[in-house]
């Protein structure tokens, strides 16, 4: 379990994804990886939070497998699943639009950067996906 207060004072990047997504989420992970590389090059640290759109399926085992399959194993990357209600509320607060149609979760590409005070610092999405704006 991760308490968000534990991350107070850190630069945080938040996105939402689900482990069985094969179209949008791989692109999101690619952007986050680029972002991580840029931070490393500048000697900056940050926490990456990936919150599941599909908590019913994304249990810790599913996320662990996803991390291994996609080589996303760094300690500062946190793959999280909440309750359905918490998931919807977080999505609403951070502007992630998603809906379900059968087995599919329809969702956007979106990464939100929070500053060390927890305030929204910058956003990239499908209409504006220059990840350097998050720095």
């Amino acid at each position: 379990m991760l308490e968000l207060q534990e991350l107070r004072g850190q630069r945080i990047f938040v996105t939402m994804a689900y482990s069985s997504c094969h179209r949008v989420c791989p692109m999101t992970m690619e952007r986050l990886t680029e972002l991580q590389q840029a931070l490393d090059a500048r000697g900056l640290s940050a926490e990456f939070l990936v919150v599941s759109y599909d908590p019913g399926n994304d249990d810790p085992r599913a996320w662990r497998r996803y991390r291994t399959d996609h080589q996303l194993l760094r300690d500062n990357w946190h793959f999280l699943s909440g309750t359905p209600a918490d998931t919807e509320r977080l999505a609403r607060v951070l502007g992630f639009d998603f809906w379900r149609d059968g087995e599919h979760v329809m969702h956007d590409f979106r990464i939100v950067a929070l500053d060390v005070d927890g305030a929204q610092h910058a956003v990239i999405d499908s209409a504006h996906d220059n990840w350097q704006d998050l720095l």
Partner: protein, 432 residues
């Protein structure tokens, strides 16, 4: 001890009334001693206080930032309040634009196409409007579920035809059980529920022909009006999914299947189920399943002509970041209940292979239907024709919400009206 003894002795003597003066003198001597002792004690205490004060000054000197820490804590509190305020504003703003609990988010799909034939009507060509699909699922409560899907399609005469594709209300007991009542996608196989609407979701440009919507040439009862129990149960390494449904028996009306959304007069039913297994650690992304249904389907042109349709199928879907493989096979074993003739056997199936490459997703699909023309169920359907089709396609994801697809396909009808043709089509599909 000595002083204590003296005082005690003096008070003892006074108490008995003899030699009181002597006793007073002894007491005076004792008070002097006591003051001296107190003075000594006070001096020691003062020294101790001075030492403690010096130690405190020393510690304070070592912790010089202390005032700044206090200030930082105060600032943190202010910042937390600021963040909280911002979050509240974000929630309010989100609710105001329809994303909150105060309204129903509007989502859906749409597509347009162009080609030497349209996707569903080989007799038409040129540009065409595919469908506008409005998807509503208002959030009603913790367990109550709802889903409405209103589709606007353009028919072969160019008329816009609205259709309430789905209208279902459900109660979710848990992930393992949700009961829906209303009109839903009949849960046979995989494709009909996974890719029913929204060409933007599906890799291919169009559905397999035998799985087209009932009024567009499909030969399967894609929609059922009734009750549907669905759920999934997680196992140690994977997940079991199940569906059980019961609904109005369909009819064949005007050459196509009618789901009888308004109810039935003759009491016939469709019932069936679907059981699947989703693999976990090993073969992650693979789903295997079986499904079956039985329906009594009446003919609106001849009273009492009812066909009992028995359908059994197997399917698989193997979906990963690198490829998407799909396959389904169905076998029909139908009986004309009016004349008691032997069962009519037919079958249909498809295999689709797609590869997710960095720039595009190429795919191939082969589909085939061998439908017994002496079976009333197929003979009465305008499109109940045996055929095979081979297709080669390419999907480009323009962004996360739109895709451009090209497909070249060769189709041959193999009975009733033998014909063959080649399609070259483009489809532009979005979701919103």
């Amino acid at each position: 001890m000595r002083r204590q003894w003296r005082i005690a002795a003096a008070w003892t003597l006074c108490a008995i009334g003899t030699q009181c003066m002597a006793a007073t003198a002894v007491a005076a001597e004792s008070q002097d001693d006591r003051v001296t002792a107190l003075e000594e004690k006070l001096n020691r205490s003062l020294k101790l206080i001075e030492q403690l004060a010096a130690r405190v000054r020393e510690l304070e000197a070592q912790r010089a930032p202390t005032p700044a820490v206090a200030e930082s804590s105060q600032q943190s509190q202010q910042r937390l309040e600021s963040v909280e305020q911002q979050l509240t504003q974000l929630v309010d703003a989100s609710a105001a634009r329809g994303g909150g609990g105060t309204g129903v988010p509007l989502h859906g799909f749409a597509d347009v196409g162009i080609g030497n034939h349209t996707a569903d009507e080989p007799g038409l060509k040129g540009a065409n409007v595919g469908a506008l699909d409005i998807f509503l699922n208002p959030q009603l409560g913790e367990h109550t579920r709802s889903l409405f899907e209103l589709t606007f399609e353009v028919d072969e005469e160019g008329q816009v035809a609205p259709d309430l594709e789905r209208a279902q209300l459900g109660y979710q007991f848990s992930d393992a059980a949700t009961v829906w009542i209303g009109r839903f996608h009949t849960p046979f196989g995989y494709y009909n529920t996974a890719f029913h609407h929204g060409q933007e979701i599906a890799t291919s440009l169009r559905r397999p022909r035998f799985l087209l919507f009932e009024d567009q040439g499909g030969v399967m009862p894609n929609h059922t009006v009734g009750a549907w129990l669905t759920g999934a149960e997680r196992l140690a390494d994977g997940k079991v999914t199940y569906d059980l449904f019961l609904g109005n028996g369909q009819a064949i009306s005007g050459g196509s299947i009618d789901p009888r959304s308004g109810g039935v007069s003759h009491g016939s039913t469709i019932y069936g189920g679907n059981f699947g297994y989703v693999f976990g650690e090993t073969l992650n992304g693979l789903k295997l399943g079986v499904s079956a249904f039985r329906s009594r389907i009446s003919d609106d042109e001849q009273m009492g002509r009812i066909t009992q349709v028995d359908n059994a199928g197997v399917y698989f879907a193997y979906d990963t970041d690198r490829f998407e493989y799909l396959g389904e096979y169905y076998r029909f074993n139908d009986r004309n209940l009016a004349d008691g003739s032997p069962a009519h056997r037919s079958n249909a199936g498809f295999l689709q292979l797609g590869w997710r490459l960095p720039l595009a997703t190429p795919y191939v699909r082969y589909e085939r239907a061998a439908l017994d023309q002496s079976d009333n169920y197929f003979a009465l359907q305008t499109s109940g024709v045996s055929y095979y089709r081979a297709a080669l396609g390419l999907r480009f994801d323009l962004d996360v919400k739109s895709a451009l697809k090209f497909e070249i396909a060769r189709t041959k009808n193999t009975d009733r009206l033998i014909d063959q043709w080649t399609d070259a089509m483009l489809d532009y599909a979005i979701r919103f």
